[in-house]
């Protein structure tokens, strides 16, 4: 039996003393990553998400939480049009837009009628009759203020005239809303004073404001990417003789092992209907995409990224170490590349088919995007290893999106569901880098739209 070299605590004390004397100096990359985490990525992510969430909340707040204000506004406009000499009936084809002029005389007459109409009951833009006295009082007070403001600005007739400038719109919109007011029999003491023609004009006014709508959506996506490498066979013999790593594979996609993974898109759009079937849209979108690749850990070594200097790319420094190498069949590990992007989708939607409730749409967008993080692994130019080199990544990019979806209207909200595809047009890496990576996302989009009134 061996005698113990040290008594209790003496061993630990010496061990601690000696161990604490050791100092090791980390590579620059550690501080760079720490600094980026604290200042760059967090700031960009928080700012982007704040803008997105804030915009959505403001829009949702104004549209969902305070609908009574818009009702009051529509009522004011309705009453403004009441005295016009047009034969306003349920058939809007009989309307003569010229009958509504913006003359001062009409304005004065209009104001007069408005004042008379104040105590009268009304029909809201959605056709709902209001009989509760408290609600009526509140709404009437808002009407008064609206009339006073409108009169001061002398713009009521202008609103009427511009509203009637398009015959197509009138025809379309009347059909969409003609059933709502008639379904609800209003109490006699409320609706008795409003002629049928007023209801028609009210519907028309409502529809004029329906051109704008907002949209919020979430899309689970399946992310993958396409890699394009340099055709090394075309490299001149003089370069082939240079002291560089031997390239074993020309087809980069056949060499690396990538697995698609789930990501997601979140966003909101503002839509503007330019015709019966077409709408323009623009918005803000946050995308999280990722994919796995297989490699194996290796001891620190210089990444092959510098190889590409022969092809026009000059790395920022030689301290770019590879964490994982490709090609070893033994003990491979799975690594994950994540991308956080903010983008501004701008595009068009086409209503292909459908009636009021159920519709089929096709859409396309172009999306300028901004990459929030640059800490993903990049495959070296010789396809031999992965490393991290933020300088390789392109911050601004361009994406193209296409989608088709079925929409179904429930109340004032239209729900949407359908597939979408998004393709990154420019490479993830700068053009000077010999490899090109294009991200492709396939997803099922679930969203809803609501008209802005």
């Amino acid at each position: 039996m061996m005698e113990r070299v040290y008594f209790d605590n003496e061993f630990e004390n010496q061990l601690k003393e000696k161990s604490d004397q050791l100092k090791m100096y980390p590579s620059d990359k550690v501080w760079n990553e720490v600094h980026r985490s604290l200042h760059t990525r967090r700031k960009g992510f928080v700012a982007g998400m704040s803008v997105l969430v804030g915009g959505i909340l403001i829009l949702a707040g104004t549209q969902l939480l305070s609908p009574s204000k818009t009702n009051g506004h529509n009522l004011a406009v309705t009453k403004t049009i009441q005295p016009a000499p047009a034969p306003a009936t349920a058939d809007l084809h009989a309307f003569n837009p010229n009958a509504f002029s913006a003359s001062d005389a009409t304005n004065r007459q209009t104001e007069s009628h408005l004042q008379q109409a104040l105590p009268a009951p009304f029909i809201s833009s959605t056709g709902t009759s209001v009989s509760a006295s408290r609600e009526e009082d509140r709404t009437l007070s808002s009407i008064k203020s609206e009339i006073a403001r409108a009169s001061a600005e002398n713009r009521l007739a202008n609103v009427s005239a511009s509203s009637l400038s398009s015959g197509n719109k009138m025809d379309l919109n009347l059909k969409e809303t003609e059933t709502a007011p008639q379904r609800l029999p209003a109490p006699a003491n409320v609706t008795g004073g409003v002629p049928e023609s007023d209801k028609s004009v009210a519907r028309f006014t409502h529809i004029h404001n329906d051109r704008f709508s907002w949209e919020i959506y979430a899309t689970p996506t399946l992310n993958t990417h396409h890699l394009y490498g340099v055709d090394y066979q075309n490299i001149s013999s003089s370069i082939q003789n240079a002291p560089i790593t031997v390239v074993r594979f020309a087809n980069v996609n056949g060499f690396v092992d990538n697995t698609p993974v789930m990501g997601y898109d979140l966003g909101g759009n503002l839509l503007y209907r330019i015709s019966k079937n077409f709408s323009l849209k623009a918005g803000l979108q946050f995308s999280f995409s990722r994919y796995y690749f297989k490699a194996y850990n290796s001891s620190p070594s210089q990444s092959g990224a510098t190889l590409s200097s022969y092809l026009g790319y000059i790395a920022d420094s030689l301290t770019n170490y590879s964490l994982a190498r490709t090609g070893n069949p033994k003990n491979p590990q799975r690594f994950q590349n994540k991308y956080y992007q903010l983008s501004i989708p701008v595009g068009i939607e086409w209503k292909v088919a459908g009636k009021r409730k159920l519709q089929l749409h096709i859409g396309a967008t172009v999306q300028p995007s901004y990459l929030l993080n640059r800490d993903a692994y990049v495959l070296s130019g010789d396809y031999n290893s992965y490393g991290k080199d933020p300088a390789v990544y392109r911050r601004w990019n361009l994406q193209a999106g296409a989608e088709t979806f079925i929409s179904y209207r429930v109340g004032s909200i239209r729900w949407e569901l359908g597939p979408q595809i998004r393709y990154q047009i420019l490479s993830t890496y700068k053009s000077s880098y010999p490899l090109q990576e294009n991200l492709v996302n396939y997803g099922i989009r679930l969203g809803f739209t609501k008209s802005i009134r």
Binding site: E3, L15, K16, S19, Q21, M24, N297, P300
Partner: protein, 211 residues
């Protein structure tokens, strides 16, 4: 913690108030998220903390990952530091916990439990070039199976009690004790083989002498 001597050297009277004030300024700068202060703090403590990580990690690459995550936590949790204790000790605790979390996340510690329970644990006879004795000793510690190494690091060097270790590693307190005993015995053997410890005499010889 069983031992609280992490900072006694750094904050000794020899260094005076100037260093303490500078440290206070760094602390305040970090609280305001100033990059210069963060950089200063990092430069001051990262060499020592990387050595701590290196004792726990599988390789230097892993140690740098641990250090990176640990310092991000340090900066993000700076507001939780109360000036009651030593600053370096606070940083060190965060770094150590980060190392343990890394080992757990990568399931390396769990794998090593099996190794620990095996009576015939293999010692890697690697040749690691060492210049100074401290480096040689750390290299010897790193030759231990990772489970032994973790318990030994926590108990003998970081000063955690077996009860604390059992909580950190999700093991029984008795297990921590027994593993530490084995780890210590194995380390002593390695140190003797590397000529870093004098070879002990046989107990029988000692008994003979007494007689």
């Amino acid at each position: 913690m069983r031992q609280c001597s992490f900072n006694s050297k750094n904050l000794s009277n020899l260094q005076g108030n100037e260093v303490l004030m500078t440290e206070e300024a760094i602390l305040q700068g970090c609280l305001k998220n100033h990059a210069a202060a963060q950089r200063e703090l990092y430069q001051r403590y990262s060499p020592k903390m990387l050595a701590v990580c290196f004792r726990f990690a599988h390789n230097r690459e892993d140690a740098e990952d641990m250090l990176q995550d640990g310092f991000i936590k340090v900066f993000l949790q700076m507001h939780t530091f109360q000036s009651k204790g030593a600053f370096e000790g606070w940083i060190r605790r965060i770094i150590v916990h980060t190392c343990i979390n890394h080992l757990k996340k990568n399931k390396r510690f769990n794998e090593s439990v099996d190794i620990m329970q095996a009576s015939t644990a293999q010692i890697r006879e690697e040749s690691i070039p060492s210049i100074v004795q401290a480096k040689q000793i750390v290299d010897c510690i790193r030759l231990l199976p990772i489970g032994y190494r973790t318990v030994l690091n926590l108990y003998a060097i970081e000063g955690y009690s077996h009860k604390e270790i059992s909580g950190m590693l999700d093991i029984e307190e008795s297990t921590s004790r027994s593993q530490y005993t084995r780890a210590r015995q194995m380390l002593e053997d390695i140190l003797i083989r590397r000529k870093l410890l004098p070879e002990p005499k046989e107990k029988t010889e000692r008994l003979t002498a007494i007689q």
